[in-house]
């Protein structure tokens, strides 16, 4: 009965643009941001995977040729230990992408479980959400610094330290989706049909969390890479032996005014990657579900 201003003549035949999962990717790729961001990311990933095979060992020290400008020694010069900045930036792509992806995947996975449980098992809600409130109230960077410097800087602790503050947000997001979806008529119909709780979760609730979670994952991924860099700056990052963009920059920051290329190239790589990730995220948000913009960060 409700007739909108925009034409609802699409009627029966045409698929709704709100992307039922059948053609999510095809629809998403129609968005220019997703397309170009995706292409850039794919290129960076490709470089990250195969690049390091074609350059010198990024951990190879050569103190006698330290702080050489780009061109004179290697494409991007050398750092204070005479390591080749170009090959470090290439290898750094691996680390940064791994950090971004790992953080996104783990945070989403844990947050998803907690959110589903909190949203559906009523008595756990208060407990889980209070704990999440607590975690959320601790400034993420402080928590990460504390965790890393206290439990030792390994790739694992860095990822864990960045993951933990992200979990509450994912949990909240998932929980809010669950609370919305459980009011949906089709969920009530499923309850009426005697579907067990866990099956309701899997069949009816979970699929609705996918679109917002994909979008959230891109943001987490982007901010994780940045956080990694900032932790490096604060001296609580990934072990310096592993070249990550954050590490390269934080080690090179003393030389910012002397040999800016040490910071510039990894900084550029980081900015471009995070930019691409965020553009893809924005694009996905616009195409998958404009409404979730509200619940996002």
């Amino acid at each position: 009965m409700a007739e909108g201003v925009a034409p609802d003549v699409a009627g029966a035949a045409a698929p709704l643009p709100s992307a039922r999962d059948v053609a999510v990717w095809r629809i998403a790729l129609r968005n220019r941001g997703v397309l170009w961001g995706g292409v850039v990311l794919a290129l960076i990933a490709l470089v990250a995977v195969i690049g390091p095979w074609f350059v010198v060992d990024p951990t190879n020290l050569n103190p006698m040729t330290r702080l050489r400008p780009p061109g004179e020694a290697g494409l991007m010069g050398t750092d204070q230990l005479g390591r080749d900045v170009f090959s470090r930036v290439l290898s750094g792509a691996r680390v940064s992408l791994v950090v971004g992806l790992a953080v996104a995947v783990i945070a989403i996975a844990i947050g998803l479980v907690l959110g589903l449980v909190a949203g559906y098992v009523r008595w756990t809600d208060a407990i889980i959400m209070r704990v999440m409130d607590g975690l959320m109230s601790i400034p993420a960077i402080l928590l990460a610094i504390a965790m890393i410097s206290l439990s030792g800087a390994t790739l694992g602790t860095v990822v864990a330290a960045i993951v933990i503050p992200e979990i509450p947000r994912v949990t909240r997001l998932v929980r809010s989706v669950v609370l919305t979806v459980r009011e949906e008529a089709y969920v009530e119909a499923a309850i009426a049909a005697g579907t067990r709780v866990h099956m309701i979760m899997v069949r009816h609730v979970l699929p609705n969390t996918i679109a917002p979670l994909i979008v959230q994952a891109t943001y987490i991924c982007g901010s994780a890479m940045l956080t990694e860099a900032i932790l490096g700056f604060l001296g609580a990052g990934i072990p310096p032996e592993i070249p990550s963009w954050g590490n390269i920059m934080s080690e090179g920051r003393t030389f910012f005014q002397l040999t800016p290329w040490i910071i510039f190239f990894p900084g550029l790589a980081l900015a471009v990657t995070v930019l691409a990730v965020n553009i893809v995220g924005d694009g996905l948000r616009d195409t998958l579900d404009p409404r979730i913009a509200r619940t996002m960060r």
Binding site: D133, L135, S137, I138, A140, L142, L270, V274, P290
Partner: protein, 314 residues
């Protein structure tokens, strides 16, 4: 409303409990021993043990936690292991720069981001919109410290407009020195905040512009500018304020970096130094303090909703 506030305040207690337990466990179950740091290169194992004892670090963890919580309840955050100063005094000493930096950042960010986001929403899809969005996505992409260095390089070293570092209290040194010292840190910290708020403003204004009452306003013959100002922005305020609340956590994180780069004697630096030195009471006290401030600010923000949106009543 009062009942609601009381309830919310009461609710912070379990949340703070969670934070306290978490932070305590995190600190005490990890390697690193302040006694060893104090004892230095020449110390024998006995020396270290004696220092541990004197600091109360050799008690069982449960006892240590109990002692800490007990003194917390009496408003005592403990004493710094290294400087021997009470943590509350250290916080009091350093709260002003951090608070004022946060305040100038929020004010500046809102002043820039809300008009920018509104403009982008209004011109959604246009070149202006793209530019604003690119800027705000870009704001998320540059590490704070790199930005800080660049700003110092340009404005302090080359142009010599502003000092490199430091903090001047507006209460002691006057507004001029305060502003000249706080400008670069504020700019640095604002970029990510502007990005955040501009995005949210754009998104909510776009959403509000789809609302029926905007159509009603247009049906009245209202001009587009006034439609934006009187109807769209007012209604978009709640999510914008919400994002400011969420951003406070981000801000506190950013403060740590910014204070390091600009050498501002604030709380962020205090906690960073404390972590590196394992000054447990300071870390515990500060994280608890930050959590408390965060919770309190978010309560305040929730309360401002009632002014922004008459439908919200507690």
């Amino acid at each position: 409303m009062l009942v609601y506030i009381l309830k919310r305040v009461a609710m912070t207690i379990p949340v703070m409990g969670v934070v306290a337990l978490f932070v305590f466990a995190l600190l005490r179950l990890s390697p690193g021993d302040p006694a060893a740091v104090i004892a230095g290169d020449f110390a024998t194992a006995e020396d270290v043990a004696r220092i541990r004892e004197q600091l109360g670090l050799s008690e069982p963890l449960v006892v240590q936690f109990g002692t800490w919580v007990w003194s917390l309840m009496q408003g005592d955050l403990g004493t710094s292991i290294f400087s021997g100063k009470p943590v509350t005094e250290l916080i009091a000493q350093r709260i002003e720069p951090t608070m004022l930096l946060a305040l100038t950042t929020i004010l500046f960010s809102v002043a820039v981001a809300v008009p920018l986001g509104t403009l982008a929403a209004f011109k959604a899809g246009s070149l202006i919109d793209r530019f604003v969005m690119l800027f705000s996505v870009g704001g998320f992409s540059v590490p704070v410290f790199v930005l800080g260095y660049v700003l110092i390089y340009v404005f302090s070293l080359n142009l010599r407009w502003l000092p490199v570092q430091g903090y001047r209290s507006p209460f002691e040194h006057g507004l001029g020195p305060f502003l000249s010292h706080i400008t670069l840190p504020t700019l640095t910290l604002s970029v990510i905040f502007i990005a955040l708020i501009a995005r949210m403003t754009r998104a909510s204004v776009i959403e509000v512009l789809e609302e029926d009452y905007v159509r009603t306003a247009r049906a009245k013959g209202q001009s587009e500018l006034k439609v934006l100002m009187r109807h769209a922005v007012r209604n978009a305020a709640v999510p914008i304020v919400t994002v400011i609340g969420i951003g406070i956590a981000l801000l506190i994180g950013g403060v740590v970096v910014t204070e390091s780069v600009y050498n501002i004697p604030g709380l962020g630096r205090l906690v960073l130094d404390a972590v590196l030195a394992r000054d447990y009471p300071i870390i515990q006290g500060l994280i608890l303090f930050f959590s408390f401030v965060y919770i309190l600010l978010n309560l305040l923000i929730d309360l401002t909703y009632t002014f922004l949106d008459p439908r919200i009543r507690y």
